[in-house]
């Protein structure tokens, strides 16, 4: 399946201080995680990695080869994975515990709650293969709820990076952050658009493109689709603001408030259930501070299914075309 290409560098109002570059090859965010771990491992001897029989697909294979003494194969046992992680952290290590998001944190929420979050242990929980774009494996493997379940835990921060380079930065940032962290990403290769110079900070959202009619606030790889939507809207005379929001918790309240004050409409975009995720976080915040109508794009309280990743993204309305259609409807009202 091919999708229409837009020259995103021609978008009006692109924020120069974001140093975006649209001429890069597609890469998987999980590779950014794996590559960053090796760098981190060299710099910090306390970085450990634990894995539950998914070494290659969670991309921790390079770390395992480089630092066999700081790599732990747990087998298919996600509850043990996170609780052993809590033990490693209790004696001063910085464990990255990774699996498919459907199983970790999917299967071991209470263990994460008590042994990691309530204990305030320095464990980094990594959920790979999140979202419907997991593809043919189907609904059982397409985690859609964990942004909500992780976000609701006190002490936990939640980061959803939007491309390969940002995933590398996010991995380093959560390692530096003292305390529990959850980071999630998908399976497929997706467009890269941030660069080394693009800022990344926990708790910060980035305005990629200025606009005034509608604010598209996205998280994860779908941020690129938000940019594509802005290109489509631009052709139709609608000026959309695009915000990249990798830090779902803590939320960048200042930037969100700015967007709500400037634009008449807010649309949140995430490859997750509409309940409790990015859309939930922004809705909660705005309803208390600056009541604004928020349209949430996400999974409308249903499960995914098997299919080709691109096909599924289209089917469930996650493409730039579909986002643009919704935005246009709102702006015409």
């Amino acid at each position: 399946m091919t999708t229409k290409q837009y020259d995103l560098s021609k978008l009006k109002g692109l924020n120069k201080s974001m140093y975006l570059n649209f001429n890069q090859e597609n890469k998987a965010n999980r590779s950014g995680y794996g590559d960053a771990l090796v760098t981190l491992g060299k710099r910090n001897k306390n970085v450990w990695v634990c894995c539950a029989d998914l070494t290659d697909s969670t991309k921790v294979d390079k770390f395992a080869k480089t630092f066999p003494n700081r790599f732990v194969e747990m087998g298919v046992a996600e509850q043990n994975l996170v609780t052993v992680g809590a033990g490693l952290a209790a004696v001063g290590k910085i464990p990255f515990v990774s699996s498919y998001a459907a199983f970790c944190p999917g299967r071991c929420w209470e263990q994460i709650r008590t042994t990691i979050c309530y204990n305030n242990q320095n464990v980094k929980v990594i959920g790979a293969h999140a979202g419907v774009s997991v593809g043919p494996d189907g609904a059982t493997h397409q985690a859609l709820e964990e942004i909500a379940t992780m976000r609701s835990l006190p002490n936990m921060i939640v980061i959803v990076p939007s491309d390969y380079t940002q995933t590398k930065k996010a991995t380093a940032a959560i390692a530096k952050f003292k305390g529990p962290a959850y980071m999630r990403f998908g399976r497929t290769s997706t467009p890269q658009f941030t660069t080394k110079q693009t800022p990344f900070q926990i708790g910060k959202a980035n305005i990629l493109k200025q606009g005034k009619d509608v604010a598209l606030i996205a998280t994860g790889a779908l941020t690129y689709e938000a940019l594509r939507a802005a290109a489509i809207l631009q052709e139709q005379g609608i000026n959309a603001m695009v915000i990249d929001n990798p830090s779902i918790k803590p939320l960048d309240k200042k930037t969100i408030l700015k967007a709500a004050k400037k634009c008449r409409h807010i649309i949140t975009i995430e490859e997750a259930q509409v309940t409790g995720g990015l859309g939930g976080a922004i809705t909660e915040f705005l309803s208390e501070t600056h009541p604004t109508k928020v349209t949430r794009i996400g999974m409308p309280d249903c499960y995914g299914e098997s299919g080709d990743p691109q096909e599924l993204l289209k089917h469930f309305g996650f493409t730039g075309e579909s986002i643009a259609r919704k935005a246009r409807k709102l702006c015409k009202k």
Binding site: D53, L54, S57, E73, P136, G138, T140, H141, S306, E311
Partner: protein
């Protein structure tokens, strides 16, 4: 209840059917272009024995309340379940070509609500035996005769959930559970004994107060005689540790954990089918007749792009 399809009674016919199912696995995986090869091929004999001889079931009435229950706990091996169900008459064989595609009833991991005859959704590992135990407990307390069969993989016995079920079934003396371990010694990251050692599984189940039988899970004769006897299992739940060869029947897949989660490409699919044909020719069965039915599918695989 009576089975509304032809039960296969001769070992020769059952073996032929297992190889037809292996072909269907290869063809559906090739068409899907993703999915798991090794486990399903290794389990084809077990599924054949169950669906064509042992289970009380009716493909035309998948919800018959007196049916035996079959729980596939290691859901990623569903290509073998789908191929077996299609051959048993649950749905048309051509539907196997929709595996893992958008809108298909044959989800990448089996989904209860999608396809009649699927007893439960699986894929997330380690939960099958618990559900089997739940069903078996009701049948036991209500004194009904159904048996609950469940296949669990070896890799998934890394999961705590599985062992919670093992304790529970022993406590409740659920002798109507006939569990089968697909003991193929592989999981994703390598051989089971390297990733998370399980041996001696037999001693573990004995210590957990289960009946245990070890068999060759690729030997049809042994499968049939063991499973027949298993219907009379008493006092404790039964674990049949079935040693299988992952990738069985396809020379270049046999015993190799790297085929855990990979489908064959076009050339590999052709080579796999050749391997399976060769084997059947050697057995001089009536394979030609069975394969006539598959011809259109063979053509399709030749046509499909690499």
């Amino acid at each position: 209840m009576s089975n509304k399809f032809k039960r296969l009674t001769s070992i020769r016919d059952l073996k032929l059917m297992a190889d037809v199912i292996r072909e269907d696995i290869i063809i559906s995986l090739r068409e899907a272009k993703s999915g798991h090869s090794a486990g399903p091929l290794g389990m084809a004999d077990i599924l054949t024995a169950l669906y064509f001889n042992i289970l009380k079931h009716n493909p035309k009435k998948p919800n018959d309340k007196n049916r035996d229950r079959f729980i596939l706990s290691n859901g990623h091996t569903c290509p073998v379940l789908y191929a077996t169900m299609a051959n048993a008459g649950y749905f048309k064989k051509s539907e196997l070509l929709t595996l893992r595609k958008l809108g298909s009833r044959l989800q990448g991991h089996p989904h209860r609500a999608a396809l009649p005859g699927i007893e439960t959704t699986s894929g997330p590992l380690g939960c099958g035996l618990s559900q089997a135990a739940g069903m078996a407990l009701v049948f036991k307390r209500e004194k009904t005769k159904q048996k609950v069969f469940s296949i669990v993989s070896d890799g998934e016995q890394n999961e705590g959930n599985h062992w919670e079920a093992v304790l529970f079934a022993a406590k409740e003396k659920l002798s109507n559970i006939i569990a089968i371990t697909d003991r193929n010694y592989i999981q994703i990251d390598g051989n089971t004994e390297d990733v998370m050692p399980l041996d001696s599984l037999k001693k573990k189940y004995l210590a957990f107060n289960w009946n245990v039988i070890e068999i060759n899970g690729n030997n049809m004769q042994q499968l049939i005689s063991t499973l027949k006897k298993a219907r009379n299992n008493k006092d404790k739940p039964l674990m049949i540790i079935a040693k299988t060869l992952p990738g069985k029947g396809v020379s270049f897949m046999e015993g190799d954990y790297r085929w855990h989660g990979k489908p064959p490409n076009k050339d590999e699919a052709q080579a796999a089918l050749n391997d399976l044909h060769k084997k059947e020719c050697l057995e001089r069965g009536d394979w030609y007749h069975l394969h006539q039915k598959l011809k259109p599918i063979h053509k399709k695989i030749k046509r499909s792009k690499k």
